[in-house]
Amino acid sequence: MHRKNTLDRGLSKREFLQAGAGGICALCLWGLGGGNKGYGQPPPRWNVAGASPGFVRPRPAQWFSRAGGTKLRCELCPWSCELAPGQKARCRVRTNRGGTGYTLAYGNPVLVQEDPVERKPFFHVLPGSRALSISTAGCNLECKFCEVWDMALADPQEVHAYDMPPKAVIEHAKAANLRSISYAFGEPVVFYEYMYETAVLAKKQGLLNLMHTAGYIQPAPLKELSGLLDAVNVDFKSFDPAFYREMCGGELQPVLRTLRQLKAAGVHLEITNLLIPTLNDDLQKIRQMCTWIKQELGAQVPIHFARFYPLYKLTNLPPTPVSTLDNARNTALEVGLKFVYVARVTGHTGESTFCPDCGKVVIKRVGFVIDQMHLSGGQCTHCGAALGGRWQ
């Protein structure tokens, strides 16, 4: 069993949160001030007008345990990195500083953008609304087809980051009249503490917390987090363990465990499966995956089959044929999944939501543009059937 909170001083979870809340109060007192720019330096003012290169806000973090001597073990994700002093974890953002576990991904998002919630993608959460997305540098996987490799596979010192503590994130979201905060585009697991504290504040302000993740996380931290989350989209990269090992540098089992755990916690769940030609587009495997989803997570879980475009290390691999996406969609429907989407083929019929009872279009989409909506209170206006999701 993992220890819940294992800072080197033996800080308990409650103490940690109190410290975090205290910090936030202090920030409030400073007005726009707060945070540490560089370890041991006086806190600067927020600099949300622009970003600075290599900006980090090192801060003692949760989910570290002693691993003998001055070594620490990070228990946030399945890698369980053992870190000697000065060493960084695989994710590039968690480190052992003098025997204390620190995160370098706190309050320094590299990506801050406001855009439609469908872009995350969430098709069953507040359709047509806009969300504020944040993400820091770092990732605990190393996918050869990473779309945000210049952020996720970079050290925080290598990229420009905004000085934006949790409170600033909430203020921005409220000021822009947004409905949700989305921890997306990068890998939110690696900025766990930042996400956690932002989510606490968002919850208080009535904002939804949405997370898009690869799901590569240990059960204990996920359990702490899931109470704060309203919806999660998990990148389910393949049902083939070899694919996870060879193309992503990870394992399949922890992802399956995350999916089950989120389902059990009652969080609204959506799944994205990027279909890469020849690598994970085998229909048999897709059928097995869909069957597993239906049995373990339920037929109502929306799944998005996304098109691959040549990028990063696979720049010379052709894009996914649309017919492959069609076949995958048909397979998933045959298995019995109710909401099966095709993503990144703008104008495809599979972008729209169809009522599983009457078969009529409930939400007609073109990309993230909502063209028609036949949904009221989460029910199909044609037949009155209830559709799963966070509609309000």
């Binding site: 020849t278 690598l279 073109v366």
Partner: protein
């Protein structure tokens, strides 16, 4: 009298085989590597390096053979056999198999690396595999050069290096012949293995012919020649040759199957589970068509150039979404486009989308005729229909040349060519090209062009490249609008307000045209112009490139919520000026392709991205320490006493001159060739003509030395040649920008021909002089010839790498010429210093 033609034939064949082998291996390797300027440079460097080593080894071998055959590792079964012929024949006989095996190994190459499908090899992988694979063929060619020089010298019965000089001339001529025959005959009719077999048979055939002639002479009562020593098998070479030809006929058929089989192996590693439909050889590179479901993908020289819906696809627009978005976005940037010019991209779906708009005329320019021909059966029905649309005029040729020469004006020009990965492709992204386009546009006309990007625009290389494209466009057009995510579109035009970032305006224009197409709608514009992304991209590109260190520091991330594009446009005038050295891409400073190299370095992430970034610091004065070192060494050598020391000093000076000749020849050739392609246009035959003129200059220069200055082979003459080269290089540096302004194509051709001939001629003059100087100092003809050939190739290898990968893109082609001038000038001074000490 028949001996000289026989020798000519042998060395001509060596040049032919050398050229064919080089082109074959280059084309095969480019199918595996990323075809950028750097990988081409590495392959050529490996080629020249190994040939140089081969010739140095040849010199050692021949000299060892003079003492005792056994000591040279030669067969001892024929103790009375002279050492030169048999090795020459063995080397010739080894070339064919070496070429065949090398080609096969290249096809298997990806299998040796743990790469995912579609992944690029890293710089390290490319370097190692180029040097390993090139070694056997190049070593044999280098050896053969020295062996043939020796044979010729033996026949002439002289002790000087005239044999090497003649071989040098013959080889140069053979190179031209090889290039011409390969381009116009072999590439059309023979696969790589068959071409290799032809080359592999010709070389031993020519050597056998040489001995046959010698034997005839002996039979006729001539003086003893090498043929008299031939073993019985070789004395009856005609029957042997016939047997070999018959065997080759059988092998010929087998090679046809081998080619297909080897391609399948290659593509199994490259794109597994794709069906290799067809492969074709065009003079511009090998083309492969692969199929997966109803999608067809086209690769040229290892690049995925496009994927397209097949004839069986129901909704091609979905499959060809990128092309459709580009086309429709471009068409609605003009309120009423009547005449459209499309450069490239038509086959991937762009043309099919354009014809849906009510335009009157579409001129579609595609470079490679073979590509259009072989692609037709596999492209979408909508594209095939568009190709037969009466409004469409399909023309084959260089798009840039067309823009320069076109007599009419257009409302819209769409440039849909691959990213500027090479100097040739970079010509579509330069200031000069944009100026030419603007001249071809009506006053309210619009240019639309694009380049690969990343959604976050965070990496230094990708931002540098896109900011360079933006600023270069902006330096020509008053209004430029970048739009997109992983691919950025740029619409450029005058300030009339046609170009719009308003999705509603564009959607309205689209709807007014009543376009019937499945899979695309006016909603797409809202997606493309999503405000947060649009504002951020515009902010980054408009602001980047204005700080002194911007090219190395990467982009600013900008404010969280940048102002609307219209406000950004107005505010742009108040921003600091753009750092033009690093952010304006021009024909003569093609920084665009350097950033593409940098981007590739980031993608392969093998640790060399920092190297690219560091090389951006390059300054002209970096050459000074090298110059200082060379001069310092010569002064030190001058101060030493004794005959031996003086000789060492002279030897050093001659080798410096040889190396600088190799280096400056290569850098001048690169500067001239690339400038010619930018100024005249990329016409394969014309580029081939320029290369041929260089080679002709080389051959005639060597011949000139033989005839007129052979008895003046000393450091003084060599110094004068170096000085002449320095003067010519300086002259080229000065006149090159002027030549670029010349409008007349014929005059451009004449001027470039003259300059190129001059460079080749001086290089040709230099070689025999240097070889003879070297021989005078070492008293060994083959050692001198082999060493000079090797050192010149090493100089060339260095010149190719430095000029094409760094100096040309970062400092410009003028700097390449100045580099050559400084190198030759330094050699001149080194020779002067040594000459005085010698005196």
């Amino acid at each position: 009298m028949r001996r000289a033609p026989a020798h000519c034939l042998a060395v001509l064949t060596l040049g032919f085989v050398s050229q064919v082998g080089q082109v074959l291996l280059l084309r095969e390797l480019l199918m595996v590597f990323h075809g950028n300027e750097l990988s081409i440079g590495i392959i050529l460097a490996a080629w020249m390096g190994w040939v140089g080593i081969g010739s140095a080894l040849g010199a050692i071998l021949v000299e060892a053979g003079k003492k005792t055959p056994a000591a040279a590792g030669l067969p001892t079964v024929l103790p009375s056999y002279p050492p030169t012929f048999l090795p020459s024949f063995l080397v010739s006989a080894g070339l064919g198999p070496a070429l065949l095996v090398t080609i096969f190994l290249i096809r298997r190459l990806r299998g040796f690396f743990a790469l995912g499908p579609g992944a690029y090899l890293s710089l390290g992988d490319i370097t190692v595999s180029s040097f390993v694979l090139m070694a056997p063929v190049c070593l044999l060619l280098g050896l053969q050069f020295v062996l043939l020089s020796r044979l010729w010298r033996q026949t002439d019965g002289v002790a000087d290096t005239s044999g090497a000089g003649k071989t040098y001339i013959g080889e140069a001529a053979g190179n031209v012949l090889g290039g011409v025959l390969f381009t116009f005959v072999m590439v059309r009719h023979l696969n790589s293995f068959q071409s290799a077999l032809v080359a592999g048979l010709l070389m031993p055939g020519a050597v056998l012919w040489l001995t046959r002639v010698k034997q005839d002479k002996k039979a006729g009562g001539g003086r003893a020649v090498l043929g008299s020593y031939l073993p019985p098998l070789l004395t009856s070479c005609l029957p042997t040759f016939i047997v070999v030809l018959l065997a080759a006929g059988g092998i010929w058929a087998v090679l046809g199957h081998l080619d297909v089989w080897a391609y399948r192996i290659q593509w199994r590693h490259f794109a597994p589970q794709h069906r290799l439909v067809e492969t074709h050889r065009s003079k511009y590179g090998n083309i492969a068509i692969v199929q997966r479901d109803d999608q067809y993908s086209f690769f040229q020289s290892g690049h995925l150039i496009f994927s397209t819906a097949g004839p069986e696809t129901n909704v091609p627009c979905l499959e060809e979404q990128d092309a459709a978005v580009l086309a429709h976005f471009a068409l609605v940037q003009h309120e009423q486009p009547r005449r459209v010019l499309l450069l490239g991209g038509g086959l991937r779906g762009t043309l099919g989308a354009i014809v849906r708009h009510p335009v009157e005329q579409i001129d579609y320019i595609e470079l490679d005729e073979v590509l259009t021909r072989v692609a037709r059966p596999y492209v979408a029905e909508s594209t095939r229909a568009a190709l037969t649309d009466p409004r469409v005029r399909l023309l084959h040729g260089d798009g840039r040349l067309f823009v320069k020469q076109a007599g009419q004006k257009y409302d819209l020009v769409i440039v849909d060519v691959p990213d500027p990965a090479t100097a040739v492709l970079n010509r579509y992204y330069t200031q000069e090209f944009f100026r030419q386009v603007r001249r071809r546009l009506h006053p309210d006309g619009v240019l639309v062009i694009g380049a690969v990007s990343t959604p976050g625009l965070r990496g230094t290389a990708v931002v540098n490249r896109n900011a360079t494209l933006y600023h270069t466009l902006r330096s020509v057009f008053p209004s430029v609008l970048p739009v997109g995510g992983r691919f950025l579109f740029y619409a450029a035009g005058d300030a009339s307000g046609q170009i719009s970032a308003d999705a509603q305006v564009l959607g309205q224009r689209y709807l007014q045209r009543d376009i019937q197409t499945e899979g695309f709608s006016h909603h797409h514009f809202a997606l493309l112009l999503e405000p947060s992304q649009l504002r951020r991209v515009n902010w980054i590109l408009r602001h980047h490139g204005r700080n002194p260190d911007a090219h190395r520091a990467g982009p600013q991330a900008g404010p969280l919520f940048p102002e609307p594009v219209a406000q950004q446009q107005r505010a742009e005038e108040r921003l600091p000026p753009v750092r033009s050295r690093f952010f304006i891409n021009s024909d003569f400073k093609p920084i665009g392709y350097y950033y593409t190299l940098m981007f590739w370095g980031h993608l392969t992430r093998a640790g060399h991205k920092e190297v690219f970034s560091s090389l951006l610091r390059i300054e002209p004065w970096w050459i000074l320490p090298v110059v200082g070192l060379l001069l310092g060494t010569s002064v030190t050598l001058r101060m030493a006493d004794g005959t031996r020391a003086r000789r060492r000093g002279a030897y050093y000076a001659v080798l410096v001159a040889v190396a600088t000749t190799g280096l400056s020849t290569m850098t001048l050739q690169i500067a001239l060739l690339f400038s010619f392609q930018s100024t005249y246009g990329f016409v394969y035959e014309m580029v081939g003509l320029i290369v041929a003129i260089f080679m002709a200059g080389l051959a005639l220069g060597t011949a000139f030395t033989h005839r007129y200055v052979a008895d003046k082979a000393n450091p003084n003459t060599l110094a004068m040649v170096q000085l002449s080269m320095a003067v010519l290089a300086s002259l080229i540096a000065v006149v090159l920008p002027g030549v670029a302004q010349v409008e007349s194509a014929a005059l451009v051709l004449v001027l470039f021909s003259l300059l190129t001939f001059g460079a080749g001629w001086l290089n040709g003059v230099d070689f025999p002089l240097a070889a003879e100087c070297c021989r005078a100092l070492t008293r060994r003809a083959e050692r001198a010839a082999g060493t000079v050939y090797a050192v010149e190739l090493f100089g060339g290898c260095l010149g190719a790498a430095v000029a094409s990968a760094v100096v040309a893109p970062v400092l410009g082609f003028g700097a390449c010429c100045w580099l050559a001038a400084i190198a030759n000038g330094t050699a001149f001074v080194v020779l002067l210093i040594v000459r005085r000490s010698h005196a």
